[in-house]
Structure formats: C-alpha cells, structure tokens
C-alpha cells in the first residue's frame, strides 16, 4: 500500500475503570479505499473511529490519521444519530463545518446547496430538523460531512436506525458521492449485507478485548448497484463474512 491515509499500529485502548476496548489493533486504509469494520457490539469498532478522528488517544501504539496532522477539514464524521443542531435550519446545519472554518453564510451557500443536491434535499434547505424524517435527517448529516470535501469519511453505524429500503438508498448515495469525490471511508456496521455491498475490504473484529481477527477482500468493482446485490457473488460474500463473524465469536 502506498502511504496509507489511516494507519493503526499495535494500538491499545484502555478506559478508566479498566475496560480494555482495544488490544494490539493493526489496520490501514489506503487513500480512496472503502474499509468496513464488522463485528458484534462492544468489539471496539467505534473506538477505532474515534481514535482515527482524533477524538480519543490510544493507551499504547501509534496512530496516523489526517485529523492528527491538525489540518482542518480533511476528516468528516457521521454518527449513528444524525446529530443535527435542532435550532438551525438544514442549510445552516450543513454550513456548520465551513462556518467554523471562517466562511460566511453567503460565501458558503453554493457549496451548501451542492452538498444538499448530492443527497437530494435541495428543496428542504430552509426546513428545520424537527420537520424531517429520520432518513432525511441522516442525509443532512451526510451532506454536512461532504460539504468540506474531506479526504477521509468516518461513519459509525450511520444507517442502523433506518428501515431497510432507506438504508439501501443511502448506501447507494454514499457510494455515489465517493465515486464523485474520491474520499477514503472507514465504515462501522454490524450488518453483514451492508459490509458486503459497500466495502473493498472488511476487517472482522472480535470483542473483549477488541482486535482484528479476520480480513475479507471484496473485489467487486464500483459502481455497485442492484445488480450486485442480487447476484450470487453477493450471497457468497455475505456467507464468507458471516462465517468470519462466527469464527470471531468462537
């Protein structure tokens, strides 16, 4: 791999109270690559994302990530909760990262509009989060993540709370955006189907303590669509992932 955009080397993370969230985690993400962390609850997947975002520091080991090189807008994070500011309009929510970087509302407006168009919410720019459905709010969250044109997108089980149809639609939207902008993605999920559909590589993790126990490559080229989802390759991939998961449990 040429210089990875994210690299964890023998990373441990122990929390106060003695919980060992991660032990000896090694992983790398290449620029533009889509990597998924797959595993049961409590295996430290979210912790890895937070470390990559610079929101936490490891207890041992080394991390390299864009956020840690203190450049501003290179990393974006999408939480499981849409995490919108309820007091601000959709447009103002998407504006936030640019605003924090010092851009005025008028100056940022074209990029905000483009981000909203990417997720298909251009007409809802002046609506308030309260007026939107769960799926729409998640799309706003994604638009906000994309508005700064990040090189790394971190997503922590973003579609877990949505229904299957919306989930699949948003899967497609993320891939499309990645196609257009070329960012790397570190994606966390415990859905085998999602991991199979979205990723180039899936790192299977096990819990207590969290560590990577298996790696499954998915060579299917992009763009991926309903064709892939209905194919035999997809089913085989899912089977392989499920087996790896079970193996991680054992």
């Amino acid at each position: 791999m040429s210089t990875p955009i994210v690299a964890l080397e023998e990373v441990d993370k122990r929390f106060e109270g003695g919980v060992q969230a991660l032990a000896g985690v090694n992983l790398q993400v290449a620029p533009g690559e889509f990597v998924t962390l797959l595993g049961p609850s409590g295996c430290g997947k979210s912790t890895v994302l937070r470390l990559a975002a610079g929101l936490d520091t490891p207890s041992a080991g080394r991390i390299d990530a864009p956020a840690l090189r203190s450049s501003r807008a290179d990393t974006a994070f999408v939480f499981q909760d849409a995490t919108l500011m309820p007091w601000a309009s959709v447009a103002d929510n998407v504006w936030l990262p640019l605003r924090l970087a010092g851009e005025g509302r008028a100056q940022a407006r074209p990029r905000v509009d483009r981000a909203l168009a990417t997720v298909g919410l251009a007409e809802f720019a002046d609506a308030f989060p309260r007026q939107l459905s769960g799926g729409m709010r998640m799309r706003v969250s994604i638009a906000r993540a994309l508005v700064t044109q990040p090189t790394l997108l971190l997503m922590d089980e973003p579609f877990a709370a949505l229904d299957e149809i919306t989930r699949q639609k948003l899967n497609g939207d993320v891939l499309a955006a990645r196609q257009a902008q070329g960012f790397a993605t570190l994606f966390v999920t415990h859905s085998v189907y999602e991991a199979a559909f979205l990723s180039q590589r899936v790192l299977v993790m096990s819990a207590r303590p969290g560590r990577v126990v298996a790696e499954v490559g998915i060579p299917e080229p992009y763009p991926r669509g309903a064709g892939f989802r209905n194919s035999g390759r997809f089913i085989e991939t899912c089977a392989a992932l499920s087996a790896a998961l079970e193996g991680a449990h054992a």
Binding site: A53, L55, T83, M85, A88, L96
Partner: protein, 256 residues
C-alpha cells in the same frame, strides 16, 4: 382556535359575575368583601396614585429579573466551566434559595442603606436561582456528539459557546425565566410588605398595607388587581418570548 381563546375568557367573566352576585345577594359589607364593580370604581378613582405605585413595583420586578438573568447566566457559565467552583459555591446558592425571603427581608433592610436596593436584592434572591439552576443544566446538556463534531472541526472556545452551548442552553434558560418572572414579582411584593415602606418611592404592596391600615378594603382589592395583572403580563410576555425563540424547533413549543 376561537374556542381556545373564548373558554378562559368565559370562565373569567363568569367568576366576576358570580362574585358580584354573591356580594349583592348576601349583602356582604364593602369593608369585608367589595364587589368587583366597587373595586373597579375605586381603581379608576385612584388611578393616578395607584399607577405610580404600579410603575414602581414593575420597575423593581423587571429590574430584579434583569439582574437575576445577568447574575444567573454569568454564575451558570462559571459553574459550567469549572466543576470545582460549582461544587464549592452551589450549596451557597441552594441556601439562598431555600431561606424564605420573609425571614431574610428584615435583616437585609437592616444591613442595606437604600430601601430600593434592599427590595431589589430581596426580589433578586428569589428570582435568580431557577435561572442559575436551569442554565447550568442547559449548558451541560449540549449533545455529546455535537461536542465531538465541534472538536473535529477545530471550533474555538468562543465558537463553541456561541454556536453550540448557548443554543443548547436556551430552552432550559427560558424555562427558568418563566419561573423567575413570577418569583421576581412575589419577591418584590413580599419584601415591600415586610419593609412596609411609605413615602415617595413605594410600590403596590405598600399601597395594600396602607389601605389595610386605613380600613380602605376596596382600595386593597384595587391594588391587588393591579398586582395580579402584572403577574399575568409577565407570564404572557415570557410565553410569547418562548414561542418566538423556540417555536420553530423545540419540542416544548409543539402545537399538539
């Protein structure tokens, strides 16, 4: 919508009529319970002097409220920034809140030179705690993920305060404000009742006292009516403020 407005008005009108009827039918003497018609008559006859007192009570109430906001928000900000300061000083705030102002007022009147300042202080003590307590909670209630997001995008502390903490705290602050509005009036009136200040700068409470000492019961009721009106005005103003600031986005202002 019309029924919504009509119902409280109808109830109010009915109670007034009932009161008037009761006084007339039971022939209750005016110095025991004056009829609403007599109270209104007395109000108009004395409106000049009562209005001056009304203005004074209003000034104290609003003054104390403004100071309570300033004090409450400032102290809340300090508490939100430093847990240790909060732990050290919060008990003081609690003690101030639970000590009945009726008991403290005479002491304050002894220690403080100006009667107006003493009244402001009494009303402030009563009014500031809800604002302080609510704002502290509000400042702490900022969504954890949003806080992470702000960190991720390298927000300055000022940006964090302005764009995240203040809006997060706003609903709580306004809830506290609604409570403090009424308390401020009660504090001002209680303090003045205890002070029994006569003279130039006096509010409605003094007029009520004066009327009671001079057995002018209809005037007592007239002054009381103005007090109640003030309380209602304060309440409605804050309801309107709440709707204006929170109407578009906060659950507490949902129409259902």
């Amino acid at each position: 919508m019309r029924i919504e407005r009509a119902l409280p008005l109808a109830t109010f009108a009915a109670s007034l009529l009932g009161w008037e009827a009761l006084v007339r039918l039971a022939q209750i003497p005016h110095y025991t319970l004056p009829a609403p018609s007599l109270v209104l008559q007395t109000l108009f006859a004395n409106f000049g002097s009562l209005a001056t007192s009304w203005w004074f009570t209003l000034k104290i109430t609003l003054g104390a409220l403004v100071l309570a906001c300033a004090g409450g928000v400032l102290i809340a900000a300090v508490f939100a920034l430093s847990r240790s300061i909060e732990r050290a000083l919060f008990p003081v705030a609690v003690v101030l809140q639970v000590t009945p102002v009726v008991a403290i007022a005479p002491l304050i009147l002894i220690y403080v030179e100006s009667t107006t300042a003493a009244l402001l202080l009494c009303a402030w003590i009563v009014a500031f705690f809800p604002i302080l307590s609510n704002t502290v909670i509000g400042l702490r209630s900022a969504d954890a993920n949003l806080k992470d997001l702000f960190r991720l995008y390298r927000a300055t502390p000022w940006q964090r305060l302005r764009l995240l903490l203040v809006p997060s705290a706003l609903p709580y602050f306004i809830a506290g404000l609604k409570v403090s509005g009424g308390l401020s009036l009660i504090g001002a009136v209680t303090a003045e009742m205890v002070a029994g200040a006569a003279g130039r700068e006096t509010g409605l409470a003094s007029r009520i006292l004066e009327a009671s000492f001079r057995t002018e019961t209809p005037k007592m009721f007239a002054a009381l009516l103005l007090l109640v009106l003030t309380g209602v005005l304060v309440f409605w103003s804050f309801e309107a403020l709440s709707k204006a600031l929170l109407g578009r986005w906060h659950a507490s202002e949902r129409k259902d």
